[in-house]
């Protein structure tokens, strides 16, 4: 185990796979512009390249390179920048294999940060996972810890399908224990971050820490929350979630996105369908307010779920 920040763990995951497989490419804007760039120096200009501000071409090139046998990892920085290239993300990359009747595969990773709620205002703070989650052919990873950041990135690169890898920008410098050597975290396996039997609390990314903080507060009140982090939302480990609901009978889902743009609504609907009998209270969602994210600090804080709102929602679910 090594202690390292989340961002370094992602890099470690990319390194692990680039060392292992010469087919892995790494490219994007504003990287590898000098020869001492870490990845460029290690793997050379065939495999590591700076690109212009051309997301459509960048992702489209990744699709083509993947169809031709390579494994591109595209550095996109902020998830919103994918929006200019959304056709490539949801109507090209995940469709090519299917439409060819299985002749091609499209292994690529779109690495993008999200949820940067620290004054980046309306166009740079979105939590966009739900946009990708429902697209057949696409996988979506949302690591919440440094270890998962490494292991999910490595798995994403090894996966034979297009993967949207969404790292949370506010976790960038969070330290965590990360296994050394080859490390892979399986897709579709939720992690129970805290055991509890009174309520199932579901959260991803940065919201995991707020859910855990709320759980600690609640524990002082004698309420034991089970905190589950799905880690990948496509595939979604519904089984682990449902098993927890069987035990607790109560569900609170936390999401940094507005209500109808949230992953939590999609999960809530699944639970409502599959665990009606087990439920002893309404499924409560704690999502961002239905608004563009404001710039000013107190307003931004106001619209995003915090520990107090999560704890209050749990109390409500237990009433």
């Amino acid at each position: 185990m090594a202690q390292m920040p989340y961002i370094a763990a992602i890099d470690a995951g990319i390194h692990q796979e680039m060392r292992r497989d010469p087919a892995v490419l790494y490219f994007g804007q504003n990287l590898a512009t000098t020869e001492n760039h870490e990845f460029l120096a290690a793997y050379g200009a065939d495999r590591v390249r700076v690109t212009p501000i051309s997301e459509t071409a960048e992702i489209g090139i990744a699709v083509g390179a993947a169809m031709a046998g390579l494994r591109p990892v595209v550095e996109l920085y902020m998830a919103e920048f994918m929006l200019v290239a959304m056709d490539q993300v949801i109507n090209e990359a995940p469709r090519m294999r299917y439409m060819s009747g299985g002749q091609v595969k499209v292994p690529l990773v779109l690495k993008a940060g999200y949820g940067f709620a620290c004054g980046w205002a309306g166009q740079h703070t979105g939590s966009l996972a739900a946009l990708f989650m429902g697209v057949p052919g696409l996988k979506v990873a949302v690591p919440a810890t440094a270890a998962d950041a490494k292991g999910l990135m490595a798995t994403a690169i090894r996966d034979d399908n297009p993967v949207v890898f969404l790292h949370h920008y506010l976790l960038t410098l969070e330290q965590g224990e990360v296994p050394e050597g080859e490390y892979l975290v399986p897709f579709g396996k939720a992690e129970v971050r805290r055991r509890g039997s009174d309520v199932t609390l579901v959260a991803t990314g940065w919201m995991v820490s707020r859910a855990l903080a709320a759980a600690e507060q609640l524990a002082a009140e004698g309420i034991e929350a089970e905190v589950i982090d799905p880690r990948t939302v496509a595939p979604l480990d519904l089984e682990t979630l449902l098993t927890s609901v069987d035990k607790t009978g109560r569900v609170v889902l936390v999401d940094q996105a507005p209500r109808h743009a949230s992953v939590s609504a999609l999960i809530a609907a699944d639970i409502a369908e599959h665990r009606f009998k087990a439920l002893r209270a309404p499924i409560v969602q704690v999502t961002a307010a239905d608004t563009t994210v404001p710039y000013s600090e107190p307003l931004e804080a106001h619209v995003i779920p915090d520990t107090a709102r999560i704890a209050a929602a749990v109390r409500q679910a237990l009433r």
Partner: protein, 342 residues
């Protein structure tokens, strides 16, 4: 192949492929009347572009790759795909090239170098550049052919990709089939260069890339221009934009209508919408397929009888393709859920 003009065998190969494309597509078109309901959705024909396709792909070598659009019947035929499997795909059958999952707009035949197609205008252009990056890394002198229409040059993807391809000297040849129309819009109604009387090849200037305009109804002219571009690409000197001027001889595609309305090919937009019958008839007179046949016969490379025999052989091949496709069963419904993930 090189920059030498094609020899007799190659010229006859060109005619053969042009006839095969034309005849295959005539059978596609006739399916709407001969077998109503058998073809669904949208088909797009290459008639008028055969010389361009064949002239360009005469430079294809094993290891190269081709990427194209929804107007994609001509390329795999030229590359060696089985017309029966192609027709079966267009009919949505189990023996289809793509198992009936893709349809006319999404033909793919990796075994023959036909790597993929996109129905989204412009979207396939960066795919080609990506495949070219792979070729560049392999260092075997392989190239990628990227085919798209004039209208596609109005998509951002076109410019973004040309810039990167030029900057990285990717081994890709961009073949823009300028057929003068984007559906029912003429090129000069949507393109500032065309409106100013300039060729669309001028777009290459924005990306420090050579841009050439060629008569796409003349397979030799296309052979020469694309040949130079391919050589340049194989030598690591980067991409070229080739504007190949053709005229599409059918309407954009069959009519677009919900189920219940029988599909068919309407009259060409030049006539149906713009009332420019003379324009269309001039294009018909310039039809590259009979013209190339005429050239070969005139040059003594083929006798009229030999040409007729070739035509008959191709017709028979394509009739077999139709029969094969009609006889092929529908895919098992379980197949619908396969191939979303590798």
């Amino acid at each position: 192949m090189s920059l030498q003009p094609p020899d007799a065998a190659q010229r006859i190969w060109m005619l053969t492929q042009m006839l095969r494309i034309r005849t295959f597509e005539e059978r596609v078109k006739r399916t709407f009347t001969d077998h109503p309901g058998v073809i669904r959705g949208h088909t797009h024909l290459a008639d008028g572009a055969e010389a361009s396709i064949v002239g360009a792909l005469s430079h294809f070598r094993a290891g190269d790759a081709v990427l194209a659009t929804y107007r994609c019947h001509g390329y795999p035929l030229t590359l060696g795909s089985d017309p029966g499997a192609m027709m079966a795909e267009i009919y949505g059958r189990a023996d289809g090239l793509c198992k009936g999952l893709g349809g006319s707009m999404h033909l793919t035949d990796v075994r023959h170098g036909f790597l993929g197609t996109s129905g989204i205008v412009g979207a396939g252009i960066p795919h080609a550049a990506g495949a070219a990056w792979a070729a560049q890394i392999r260092r075997r002198g392989e190239v990628v052919f990227s085919f798209f229409g004039d209208g596609a040059s109005k998509q951002g993807a076109f410019h973004e990709t040309l810039n990167i391809a030029s900057l990285w000297k990717l081994p890709v040849v961009f073949v823009m089939e300028n057929n003068g129309y984007n559906v029912v819009t003429t090129t000069s109604q949507e393109d500032a260069s065309a409106a100013a009387g300039e060729p669309l090849a001028v777009k290459a200037r924005a990306h420090a890339m050579p841009g050439v305009t060629v008569d796409g109804t003349d397979p030799l002219a296309v052979h020469a221009v694309v040949g130079e571009a391919v050589e340049r690409a194989r030598a690591g000197r980067g991409p070229t934009l080739v504007e190949s001027k053709v005229y599409r001889l059918s309407a954009h595609g069959n009519i677009i209508a919900p189920p219940g309305v029988p599909l068919h090919y309407p009259e060409h937009e030049a006539i149906a919408v713009f009332g420019k019958r003379a324009e269309y008839e001039a294009a018909l007179r310039g039809d590259p397929v009979p013209r190339w046949r005429g050239v070969l016969v005139q040059n003594g490379m083929l006798t009229p009888a030999g040409a007729d025999e070739l035509t008959a052989r191709v017709l028979e091949e394509m009739e077999r393709a139709v029969s094969f496709a009609l006889a092929s069963p529908f895919p098992d419904t379980a197949c619908a859920l396969q191939y979303n993930y590798a």
